[in-house]
C-alpha cells in the first residue's frame, strides 16, 4: 500500500517535472567560482562575477531556465562530456586542443596575457610592456618580442594555473629558461607571488588587473611584458558545450552576438574588468 502511494507520488512528480521542462528548457552551466573577476564565490557562497551576470543575460535571451553551479577547474571538461552539466562558462579559452573534445559558442571576450611582478624587482622593467601580439597573424614579431624577454627570465620561477592555456604557453615558450610551477587556482599563485616564493605570475591581463587591485596587493605589483593572444592561447573565451549539442550552440551563438551588438558585453566587461574585452566580430 505504502509502496503504491510512493510510486504514485513519484509518477506525479516526474509528470510535473516533464511539464516544467517543456515550458522552459533547463540548462545547467558550470563555472569555476575561483577566477575573479570572471567568476568567483562571495563570502556567503553565492557565485558572482562577469560570467555569472553574462550567463544570466544569455539565458534570458535564450529563454532558458539556467542553473549555475561551481565545479573544480580540473575536471570541468570531463564533467561536461559526462553530462553532469550542459555548458561551461569559466574563462575558458577556445583552443584547437579543446575543440577536439568539446565545441564552443562565442567567443564572448578576447584578452591578452601578461606577467604580474613585484615593483622594484629586476623583472619590473621587462621589455615589450604594453605591446600586443597575435600569435596567429603576427608570429614573427611575437617570437622576437619573446626572445627579448627570455634573458631576463633566466633562472626565475613563474607561477601559472595548471591545465590552462597560460600553463601551455609557459611550458611551450618559457620552460627552457625559467622554472614553471603549476597551481590549482589563481588565488594560490597570487599568494605565492606575494610571499615571494615565485618571481612572476603568468595569466590573462584582466585577471592580473583584478589581483593588482586587491587591497593587499595594491601599489606593490605591476603587469609587464608583451601581451599575447591567439595561437596556443586560443581565440578568446567562449561557452564550452558538448559536440552533439548543435542546437544549444546555435542558440548560445545567437545570444552572444545579440549581447555583443547591443553593448551588454561591453557594459559588463567595463563593470568587471575596467576595460572593453568584446571580441571584434
Amino acid at each position: 500500500m505504502r509502496f503504491m502511494k510512493t510510486l504514485g507520488l513519484a509518477i506525479a512528480a516526474s509528470a510535473f517535472a516533464i511539464g516544467a521542462a517543456t515550458a522552459q528548457e533547463q540548462v545547467t552551466i558550470a563555472t569555476e567560482g575561483a577566477y575573479a573577476p570572471w567568476n568567483f564565490s562571495n563570502p556567503d557562497g553565492t557565485l558572482d562575477g562577469f560570467e555569472i551576470e553574462l550567463a544570466r543575460d544569455l539565458c534570458e535571451r535564450m529563454e532558458a531556465d539556467c542553473e549555475i553551479i561551481a565545479q573544480d577547474w580540473n575536471g570541468i571538461i570531463p564533467g561536461l562530456t559526462a553530462g553532469r552539466y550542459d555548458a561551461i562558462m569559466a574563462g575558458m579559452s577556445i583552443t584547437a586542443e579543446r575543440e577536439e573534445v568539446i565545441s564552443f559558442a562565442g567567443p564572448y571576450t578576447l584578452s591578452p596575457n601578461g606577467f604580474l611582478v613585484p615593483n622594484g624587482s629586476d623583472l619590473a622593467d621587462m621589455p615589450g610592456t604594453g605591446e600586443r601580439f597575435n600569435l596567429d597573424t603576427n608570429t614573427e614579431a611575437a617570437m622576437a618580442a619573446l626572445e627579448e624577454v627570455k634573458p631576463l627570465l633566466e633562472g626565475k620561477v613563474i607561477g601559472v594555473q595548471g591545465s590552462t592555456t597560460h600553463a601551455n604557453f609557459a611550458r611551450e615558450h618559457l620552460a627552457d629558461v625559467a622554472e614553471i610551477r603549476e597551481y590549482g587556482t589563481t588565488e594560490q599563485h597570487d599568494l605565492d607571488l606575494q610571499a615571494g616564493r615565485i618571481d612572476a605570475v603568468l595569466a590573462d591581463a584582466p585577471t592580473l588587473r583584478a589581483t593588482m587591485e586587491k587591497p593587499e596587493f595594491q601599489g606593490e605589483f605591476s603587469i609587464v611584458g608583451p601581451g599575447y593572444v591567439g595561437g596556443i592561447l586560443g581565440r578568446g573565451v567562449g561557452v564550452g558545450l558538448r559536440q552533439e549539442d548543435e542546437e544549444l550552440r546555435t542558440r548560445f551563438n545567437e545570444a552572444i552576438a545579440a549581447a555583443a551588438a547591443d553593448g551588454t558585453i561591453k557594459e559588463l566587461s567595463e563593470k568587471w574588468f575596467g576595460t572593453d574585452l568584446t571580441p571584434a566580430m
Binding site: 575536471g75 570531463p78 599568494l191 610571499a195 615571494g196 616564493r197
Partner: protein, 246 residues
Amino acid sequence: MDLAFLWSTFTTLIEGVPLLLELAALSLAIGAVFALLLATMRLSNVAVLDWTAQGYIFVFRGTPLLVQIFLIYYGLGQFRPALQDLGLWWFFREPFYCAVFALTLNTAAYAAEIFRGGLLSVPHGQIEAAKACGMSRAMRFRRITLPIAIRQALPAYGNEIILMVKATSLASVITLMEVTGLAHRLIAQSFRAVEVFVVAGAIYLFINFVVTRAILMIEWRLSPHLRQPPTAEAPMKPEPAHARGA
C-alpha cells in the same frame, strides 16, 4: 583500449615516482623518530609530557592532511617577514620541504599511537622474566621490549606506510609534480580522465604491493616463535649430511 596512449601515459607518470618515493621515505623516516619520542612521552608517566603528546596527536590526527598542507604552505607563506627574522624562510620557501614537513608531522601523530600500542602489548611476564635474569633496564628494553613491540606494531605500521605512499598525492596541491600532479596535467591535455587515472592508480598499487610484500617478509622474520617448529615428518630444511654424523 588504446594501448599506445596507456603506454605514453605510463612513461609520463612514471617520471613522478622518484619524487613520490622521496616524499614518502623522508617523511616516514623522520616521522618514525618523532613518533617514538611522542610514544615515550605518552608512556613517561610525567603528566606534562603525556598531555603535550596527547594534544599534538589529537590535533594532527583530527584534522585532514590536506588542510595541514595548505596551512603549512600558504598559511605560513603569509608570515614571511617573521620567518625571515627567525632564519626559517629558506625552508618554508620550498614546496618540497613544506610537503615533507606536513607529511612528517602527520605520520608522527599516527605512528606514535601505533608504537605506544606496541610497547603496551609486551607481556608483563616476559619483562619480569628478564628482570629475574638480572637484565638492566636498558638491556631489557633492547632485548625484550623493543623486538616484541616492533613485532606487535608492524601490521598497523605497515598500514601507515601504505597510507603515506598514497598521501604523497596531496603534494600536487602545492605545485609538486608527483604522479597525481602529472596525471592532472595529462588529463588537461588529453581530456581522458579515466585512462590516465587508471594508470596512476596502477602505479600506486604496484608501489604498495612491493611495500606490503616487504612488510610481510619482515613480519615473518620477526616471528619465528609463532611458526610451527620443524618436525620429523615435515622437516623445514634437510639437515646437512656432516651434521648428522656428529
